[in-house]
Symmetry: C2
Subunit: 197 residues, 2 copies
């Protein structure tokens, strides 16, 4: 991923991406200009445009980074090799952990899509791609819990997650997490009670 000819990752590039990630997440996409990012990353304009063909591509790279972090987190939960219900609980708890963390400002993807409503736009599509992966992953896990069709449960889980992530910075995060985790528990108990495996 973005090595130069000598095989090293460009320091300027990673500084750029880290800065963009921090500022974009904290302040929004359209609200932040290129000037802010290059100033705080201590990088010149020319360097930015050598690594990213446009601001939109920088935004996409930012979202890809967040997506990868999410996938890594879920990957760790899967690697623990617990029963699927426990894996789902652990994913939910890591979501709650994010909501409770400092400088939480909602879901990077939902925030991004609010600013890029055009479904054909690369930013919008990056969001859709991440969401499809997440829904698929969660649904696959529900398929291993109980016998009922897993799709409704997966959609229910994602809907609660979306609500929790958006409300997490608009209300008391502790209460939001409480509501979210109880909701997830409800889905799981309903499924385990209905058709224990």
């Amino acid at each position: 991923m973005a090595h130069n000819t000598s095989g090293r990752v460009s320091e300027a590039r990673s500084r750029l991406l880290a800065t963009a990630t921090r500022i974009f997440y904290a302040e929004g996409l359209h609200a932040v200009g290129i000037d802010r990012i290059i100033a705080e990353a201590k990088v010149t304009r020319a360097t930015l445009y050598r690594h990213f063909p446009s601001k939109d591509e920088l935004v996409v790279a930012y979202l890809r980074g967040v997506s990868q972090a999410d996938r890594d987190g879920v990957g760790r939960a899967l690697a623990a090799d617990l029963p699927a219900a426990e894996t789902l609980r652990s994913i939910a708890e890591s979501i709650a952990g994010g909501i409770l963390s400092d400088r939480f400002r909602g879901c990077a993807f939902l925030n991004a899509v609010a600013e890029y409503p055009d479904p054909g736009h690369p930013v919008h599509q990056a969001v859709l791609a991440h969401r499809e992966w997440f829904l698929r992953t969660v649904t696959d896990l529900f398929a291993q819990v109980g016998a009922a069709p897993p799709e409704p449960a997966g959609r229910h889980f994602v809907m609660l997650r979306d609500g929790a992530m958006t409300a997490g910075c608009l209300a008391d995060p502790v209460q939001v997490c409480d509501t979210f985790l109880k909701g997830v528990d409800g889905i799981l108990r309903f499924r385990l009670d209905a058709a224990p495996k």
Copy 2:
């Protein structure tokens, strides 16, 4: 509301607000400039700034309008004087109706707050005010259903609503509504079963 000295509502003003509402909702807040709005409202710059001191105030007026429409809708549901559980169901169905409607683009308030993360900003505060009203209204209704504390149920309802509204334009709206309405039904049945009134 915004009458001139002769007691009439300014036509230019309402045209302005209607246009702003349409474009802001469809395309976002920062992405849309004053020029677009005055051009499509067929109003001059000076007229806009006579009615709204700044773009931010125009955004706030737009959100106030949406908030009022929501309050009117809930008011009609309350006026039907059904049992509280039925009122909640009818509110949920009207939310689902919105999600299924043409040009649905998510929750105007959540979209706005994604662009105005600063909690002190008037736009952000307009969103918080609306959300507080909604949570309070829903919680009051849950207080009339069953005997358990209504706050968790109200928060659960709002969390599902938030998830449904955000996902409604990122996935199949029919499935989103199905998941949402089944979720609301779950909250209500749990409450009615646990402590029938």
